[in-house]
Symmetry: C2
Subunit: 347 residues, 2 copies
Amino acid sequence: MKTTQQSKKLKKFVKRPSELRQDLVSLDWIAIATGRAKRPHAFAARQTFVHDDTETCPFDNLEKSGNEKPTLVYGKGKKNWSLLAVPNKYPAFTDGHSSCPISVPVGPHNVMEGVGFHEVFILKDHFRNLAELPTVRVRELLHAYRERYLSLKDKSCVNFISIFHNHGREAGASLTHPHSQLIALPIIPPDVRRSLEGSERYYLGEKKCVHCVMLAYELKTKSRVVFENSCAVVVAPYASHAAFELRVFPKSHQPHFETMSAKEEQCAAEALKVALWKLFKGLGNPSYNYFLHTAPTKSHQYDHYHWHIEVVPKTQVWAGFEIGTGIEISTIAPENAAKFLRSIGDR
Amino acid sequence: MKTTQQSKKLKKFVKRPSELRQDLVSLDWIAIATGRAKRPHAFAARQTFVHDDTETCPFDNLEKSGNEKPTLVYGKGKKNWSLLAVPNKYPAFTDGHSSCPISVPVGPHNVMEGVGFHEVFILKDHFRNLAELPTVRVRELLHAYRERYLSLKDKSCVNFISIFHNHGREAGASLTHPHSQLIALPIIPPDVRRSLEGSERYYLGEKKCVHCVMLAYELKTKSRVVFENSCAVVVAPYASHAAFELRVFPKSHQPHFETMSAKEEQCAAEALKVALWKLFKGLGNPSYNYFLHTAPTKSHQYDHYHWHIEVVPKTQVWAGFEIGTGIEISTIAPENAAKFLRSIGDR
């Protein structure tokens, strides 16, 4: 174990600002966000930060924990809120209102300041996992995502907004209190760029949305469909990246999630809630991440895209093979994962 | 927690063969290797399989554990071996000697049989981490990698060979006994393909090896160099993907690791040993993965490439942002990580 002295020695080397550095080979951008190392558990992976009581949870004691003013409040009044959005106290990207970052050469490399926004969505209930909450709460959360998305998408430096939710320590959640996060970025992230490029390539070749083609195939064959309602569907993807991975899609073609109708919001909330519930019940409350893939904020050139939410339970650890090759080994065929999850009740 | 009944219900859905499925959007191949779910800890991420004694460790009791015959034995005789290579008992890829797999359409998708080889390198000493072993043992391991690599590289279906080492549960090691793995694949994996494409793009533009250019910059500026000897160097990469990530490079330009000289093998072994030792000592025995990136087996069109070993300590967990965007957030600047690691003795 690391000694306190070594811990201090380490902290000395930590600088504040965040920056984006470009990988010279892949041209992918990575982030150096040293401000986040101020979070108490940084560099001490073995320590546990479980707040089993509401006394010590920072999200139950916002007035004491030095957070900035909420950017969004749902519910009745200061004490009776049901959902809040607040700026992240340990942001990976900051100063989104400032001038836009430019890529600067450093020797053979490129670097850019980590300009953006980083917010946290806090649900009122400390104890109940999102899977256990009624659909109305999940819908409120999706609505909050859209509201904050719409407020930030036209800021001049924002090119992509990532929205995600981490549940459980194995999924990287540093607090047990249910919360989601939003990061608004000056760049289009590598995995999103690849997803967009793939969608565009298919569209140019086939004149069809690749996700619409996949969904039509899934809805016809049914074997990987876990749940559907009138306007959304939950599937275990044919090329699953992890065991029990699920994706929530709107049935109709839509590049931008923020443009969905009230009815589609209800459909998506129900589908997400059922997906999370089935994983919770079927796998025994696994740690999981979910994240939104939607078109970038600034252009209509992404009309070929189809937004969706990817839910990835942490059923396995990424090891040397996965991080060295990018081939993720899923240990259950998605049609079998779907069959199992269909056998679990919807609620 | 999952009940035994649910566990049984799950197992029923697991099929044996492994297959490669192509992601229709990214064109990346993923693996469905249901045979691996027979490993005792599959789908039960919370169980611990630490074999603190040699009595229960399968690698200390190979004759009882039903492994196939070793493919390589170093040391003196059956009992006094110092290093073994054996076929993996729970292989992700099998039947490498059979006919080569072809990509077959399934609806709009493509699928291929998971044909290949999967071997394990077992070090004799159950208790000592690779970081604690003398350089001569690390060199023996690198030599074994090369020997098995050379035996498999000309098999007709093998296009890429991945060699990696997982240490600690957070890094996906299912056994504590020190071991490395080799997987010979019929495809060039997505991350390797991207690394090769990036290297080629740079070469076509600049007429130089991108890794040679980066190394020259590092050796001039020194700030990210952690260790060097006459023919190898350990650097914290400028665009680090994780806090305290290190890479071991041969100083001279070499696309294929298997062609290194005896002297270069000694240099690389010493560099890898020092890198692992500094992480072990400086961060308090963290879990880590390392993996080899080298040119594919079958062609000389990769002369622009430069092999290297990437060492990634598990100082943080990949959460929703990382898996949703591909942007990894490193919480310490690599020059500061390097400064810290330089302050730790070499041995």
